[in-house]
Symmetry: C2
Subunit: 110 residues, 2 copies
């Protein structure tokens, strides 16, 4: 139970943060980064996405503070900003897995 009322402006910020996470491409980038920092090209190869696309999505994640970046000569290395990002994903995953399990029960139970 945090604060009772949330200011509308904060509501927009929260919505934007969720929006940043509401894309398959960005989630797969975050997942790849769980294994450690990556360059853009490494992520291009790992995900099969186009280079421009990867760069764009990384910029979005960066602007939302979900990843950090650091120049390494010609390369730019991206990495997860912190563990909160994964906590969010795991909360959602946990729910989904429970729901899928329930659905299986219903199907096999009839």
């Amino acid at each position: 139970m945090a604060q009772k009322v949330m200011r509308p402006e904060l509501l927009d910020l929260v919505a934007d943060r969720f929006k940043a996470l509401s894309d398959r491409a960005r989630l797969s980038l975050l997942q790849e980064l769980r294994g450690g920092s990556c360059t853009v090209n490494e992520l291009v190869e790992a995900t099969g996405m186009g280079q421009a696309n990867v760069s764009r999505h990384l910029a979005i994640l960066f602007n939302h503070g979900l990843v950090s970046r650091e120049r390494d000569g010609v390369y730019v290395r991206y990495e997860l900003a912190d563990a909160d990002v994964l906590k969010l994903c795991e909360l959602v995953c946990g729910r989904l897995e429970r729901e899928l399990a329930e659905r299986k029960q219903v199907i096999s139970g009839r």
Copy 2:
């Protein structure tokens, strides 16, 4: 640290779940529901949104299992499905508040 690899299909489900939460209108509905179950019209009055809009967004939240509903005569009462929804929002809010605090420090510190 849950599973190492996430199947692409699950990734889409997660993205969809986040997408359901990535809208100001839906978040304000969830916030109103923190005070207990509400009818559609109560939510219309509380949020100032149009009736059709409220009904649509509630349907989306319902389809994602974020709220439950129950007929009460002519009315339909909606309520939060469980506490996980709020946990998600609070995780994001916590981050945002920390970020805003840091930003204030930077501004006032120069």
